[in-house]
Subunit: 387 residues, 2 copies
């Protein structure tokens, strides 16, 4: 089996491009494919680090730019890094904050050598270069860092996206150089990993260019960014296929921002190894529950006195102890406890889905598993009722 | 030792009126004095029933009026009562909703035979008589119910408060009669307990009248209402003393709405057995933490990189695992996880304070314990900084 330093492929599915593997980080190893709950500001909403341990979430992702602004990467560095700050035993991944270019609250403008960000906390302006971003992510002390990418907007013209991937490649080279320099005295097993991010909108040729360029750099892994943003699923899957064909097979590949159960399975079948998304947590708070029988719109009237758990087969503490009726009532009343229970379950469900996926890949039966789940989810995707 | 059916006094302090006892309910017994977290809508904010079990909170209080409006007492009855609805193994107490007369959102007007409430959920109007209120609380299935009282407002004249305690007594008689009637076929150990609520503002004579009148009715326990609402502490304690002198010693006495650590100890020393309040949970969310060294204003700058737990001696999971710096950061960012951690700790602290109080009463050393805590809290009650 092919492998790079940080990644070992342990099994390949028979009928799809799905693979199971192990990502090795300085904080330990983790089996792929895996899903990372989003802890933007060092906490998954309503979920404590103890909960993450209980649901076996062995990696989470936080946001370097936002943490640089508040509480400050200096504070987190003093506290021993993000993992110690949170007292989280799993693997901490940080995103560069490139995604915040997508937000009017943060973005002022992009220049050749970096990006001007506004702090929504106090209105201060910050020029973030690729080099500075690497320093921030090392100060934050995550185990895996992302390059600063130039995230194009959905409404950008093809020309603008072309320009964005040019800058993304330019910055990626600078990130890699600076990251190597800053870590040159750190022993091999103790180094932070660095992933490059591919962009390209939904243009096949630009996705090709971006993947080809990024592949020239010896990153520990590659991310596919700028997808799962509302484009059509067929376009998303097509872009994944195009970039996966070019990206080195022996490196882990991370699809950023995807968290819909079927989307994860489709991406896994195309060779994706890592995921993150606010989708399961946000959906939970709004009453969309992932279950083995499809999505459950828990706010619907029919669950008013339903004594069943959210998902009958599920072994999470929420399903062991609580009824749909109770969680429905709490969510309708916007009670934090309801959000907590629903969030825990949805995240547990995805951890479980990933565990099953790894097992099915090892058995060579992933396609069958994916198709079975897809059929269930197509049938049960009930639209959310008006509140 | 004197005892009533539902209450046994097991120890009396030597130098104060504090006593330790056992309240017997159909769902089991609980040692007094105890503090009940507030689960207005069947959930303590940010805290699951599993958390309540972990912190040994053996009784909680919910609000009958609010639950009657949403999800409806019929729904909760169908679910097997509030305890089963929540899957909470402890003792469920319900307040009548008399307190909602204090709120413009709810109160329309009080009449001789009941009160007109507005539903803030859908604008419907509901006339709640004492009899109807008893039916609601029985439908909700709590283990201890409260009479519908006529809660006077702080700004009411003495004449208005006099009128309110007259109505409160009138309604209390009706409540007791209806409650007995509705439960007449229920075997002795399976009956819901009923407490009468004394009012009287901060007028000594009215407090006397109210306690004297209420004492005529054979309630399972008595509550002191209309205090801990911003009046001066010396007035609050005086009113407690006056009513406790009159109320039957062999019945449990519940001070409604008090949750400040020192306030609890002062009330215990005057013979109070039960408490509830949103004070610890609300304070937690706003950054005021109860500790063995006094109140900690966690949002202050000096805790920015403080690796200490909230309270060094505390054995709660929050103090075992997390730093002041982490919780400060999360609360400043209004992260639900921070609210959860702070809330859990504050409630744990009060459970612990009650446990210690019971032990000190049994040792006859409660006065010394109270004075020690008072000294600590006077020294460390640092005002909250502007955010």
């Amino acid at each position: 089996m092919k492998s790079s330093n940080a990644f070992t492929i342990t099994a390949k599915d028979k009928k799809t491009k799905a693979r199971a593997g192990i990502l090795h980080t300085r904080k330990g190893k983790i089996e792929t494919p895996f899903f990372m709950p989003v802890a933007t500001k060092t906490a998954v909403k309503h979920i404590s680090p103890e909960d993450l341990h209980e649901m076996k979430a062995k990696a989470i992702i936080s946001n370097a730019l936002i943490l640089f602004l508040r509480p400050g990467s200096d504070i987190i560095k003093k506290m021993g890094g993000i993992g110690k700050f949170m007292n989280y035993k799993g693997i901490n991944v940080t995103d560069s904050g490139g995604f915040q270019m997508y937000s009017e609250k943060f973005l002022i403008k992009t220049e050749e050598n970096g990006v001007w960000f506004n702090s929504p906390f106090d209105g201060t302006k910050h020029f973030i270069t690729p080099e500075k971003n690497m320093q921030i992510q090392l100060d934050l002390g995550g185990d895996v860092a992302m390059c600063l990418d130039n995230m194009p907007l959905m409404e950008n013209t093809k020309g603008e996206i072309e320009e964005a991937i040019r800058k993304t490649f330019n910055w990626a080279q600078k990130c890699k150089k600076e990251h190597d320099k800053l870590q040159k005295n750190i022993p091999k097993g103790k180094k932070q990993l660095l992933f490059g991010i591919c962009q390209g909108g939904i243009y096949e040729d630009l996705r090709k260019t971006s993947a080809t360029e990024m592949s020239q750099i010896d990153f520990d892994g590659f991310s596919i960014g700028g997808l799962a943003l509302g484009e059509e699923k067929k376009d998303e899957y097509k872009m994944i296929e195009i970039q996966k064909q070019i990206l080195p097979e022996n490196k882990p590949c991370y699809l950023m921002g995807a968290g819909n159960p079927i989307e994860l399975l489709e991406a896994i079948s195309r060779g994706i190894d890592m995921f993150d998304s606010r989708f399961p947590t946000q959906n939970a708070r709004r009453g969309t529950i992932f279950t083995s029988k499809g999505k459950l719109k828990i706010l619907r009237k029919e669950y008013k006195t339903d004594k069943n758990p959210l998902d009958k087969g599920c072994k999470c503490f929420v399903c062991k102890n609580h009824s749909r009726a109770y969680i429905r009532h709490l969510l309708l009343r916007e009670e934090a406890t309801g959000m907590r229970l629903a969030t825990f379950h949805n995240l547990y469900f995805l951890q479980n889905l990933m565990e099953k996926s790894r097992a099915e890949i090892k058995k060579g039966k992933f396609l069958e598993f994916k198709n079975k789940m897809k059929k269930i989810y197509q049938k049960n995707n009930i639209p959310s009722p008006a509140l």
